[in-house]
Amino acid sequence: MDIKLIKSQFPIFQEKINGKPLIYLDSANSSQKPKRVIDRISKFYQKEFSNIGRSVHSLAVTATNRFEETRDIVKKYINAKSREEIIFTKNATESINLIATTYGEKFIQKGDEILITELEHHSNYVPWHFIRQRKGAVIKFAECNDKGEVDVDEIRKLISSKTRIIALTHLSNVTGAILPIKKIIDLAKTKKIPVLIDGSQAAPHLPLNMQELGCDFYAISCHKMYGPTGVGILYAKKKWLDELSPYHGGGGMIEEVKKDGITFAESPAKYEAGTLQTAEVVGFSESIKFIENIGIKNIMQHEKEIMEYGLEQLRKHNSVKIIGDPKSRGSIISFTIKGIHPHDIATILDEDGVAIRAGHHCCQILHEKFGIAATARVSLGIYNSKEDIDVLSKAINNCKKVFKI
């Protein structure tokens, strides 16, 4: 696999940052976009654009086909059972809100329990918090261990007869831990508890197979998958989409509208109100093709190699402390440097063209648990190489120099 060649497909790497080549280590935040995705969006607007699903003219037919083909591509890529199980949202956050709201409204009552983990991103906590408030429910937090993992036993311990849903991340955006979600889903099935997986971080880096996983809901953030901003995916088992109420009301999600009542379309239309992110969804079809061309297994292997090299290099710095040490780790490494605040690290690294993220990464619960306000985070994409890690390592030396450590 020629990473240079793959990297050359990303126009942004021709840019200089503070006069230096861009070393992009912030893909967990949002990935960069390959040319084919960018060009697909342009081409769509230039040659095929029209609103979809409503008009019968040729442009509308083309646009609708391109849009719905993407649904098929996604269905196939994540091995959903049917295309109706793929709902396009604006981001993973909306995907989770949609389920928290509709499922919570119908199935969560006073005193019922929502089981999440200490690793969750705010996007997989705040929506459940709203339900907690509205319904008088209880949120239980499965503990994360020193290694930054949550294991099945921890979940098992917290399941009770009142547990109505388990919602957890597939891959932690801070510690990088890949959770044993298959085991957790199997466990939950024996108790008939539905499971929502926040796949925001996993989707760009792990193979996805909904039928094998057997989860009820899976949220995806397309912009982290080399895709356009403005698109997320909600996978949900058909039975839930049939059973739950609609979410946003508006054009396209209705069957028949009368003054005294309204009937609704079937999914996916039922959950896709208003004009959709047509160009973005169409553009996303190219992201999946991009991933498939390289092969997700190859992506995993490459990223693992760089990640391990990264761990090795970072560990060489005495003052660097890596947060968590999960057995199974995605390509995310969070760390602190003694005596230098993560924001100062990020600023100094940026001078060397190295883009990392500093902060609580929308995981305040986890940071509080670890007793730190912020961490610096390195996260990888297919375009990263060992040389990037070397530049990072030198830039860390520079941090230490600036701070005289």
Partner: protein, 156 residues
């Protein structure tokens, strides 16, 4: 020109003067069909005897020329036939619309074959396919006493 294929003489005639557009006397089964995208509606009334023979069939509804002609043609084709045979014919019809295949089943007369094939032009107009198939699905729904309204968004 594709338009001529779509709006063939037979279709325009059936569209303008639909056959069996009424509630037929003594119907014992019925079903509604709806295309939420277009607003096309069709209500099929059906008189099946004990041997499941289609004694009479009719429809009411509103919609584009294609949907009205298609409903009218459907009633002509299935009337007098056994339901099991009608079902086979309909299955061939739906495949024809989707895939552009010919109708080869020998339970229809040459004339009937030509009439059904007059709807083959819709294949080139994907947004109109559902107009052409609505009544046929609804007929089956009536005969098989499915409870729900046929909704073109849920089939095809």
């Amino acid at each position: 020109m594709d338009l001529k294929e779509l709006y063939q003489e037979i279709i325009l005639d059936h569209g303008k003067n639909p056959r069996n557009k009424k509630k037929c006397d003594g119907f014992n089964k019925e079903a509604e069909g709806y295309n939420p995208l277009c607003g096309d509606k069709v209500h099929v009334f059906l008189k099946l005897d004990d041997n499941k023979k289609v004694i009479d069939v009719s429809f009411e509804g509103e919609g584009c020329a294609i949907s009205m002609a298609s409903a009218s043609i459907m009633t002509e084709i299935v009337k007098g036939k056994d339901f099991d045979i009608a079902k086979k014919i309909i299955s061939e019809f739906l495949t024809m619309i989707r895939e552009g295949s010919k109708i080869t089943i020998n339970n229809v007369s040459k004339n009937e074959n030509v009439t059904m094939m007059s709807l083959s032009g819709v294949k080139k107009f994907p947004m109109r396919v559902k107009c052409a198939t609505l009544a046929w699905h609804t007929f089956i729904s009536a005969a098989e006493e499915k409870k729900e309204t046929v909704n073109t968004e849920k089939i095809d």
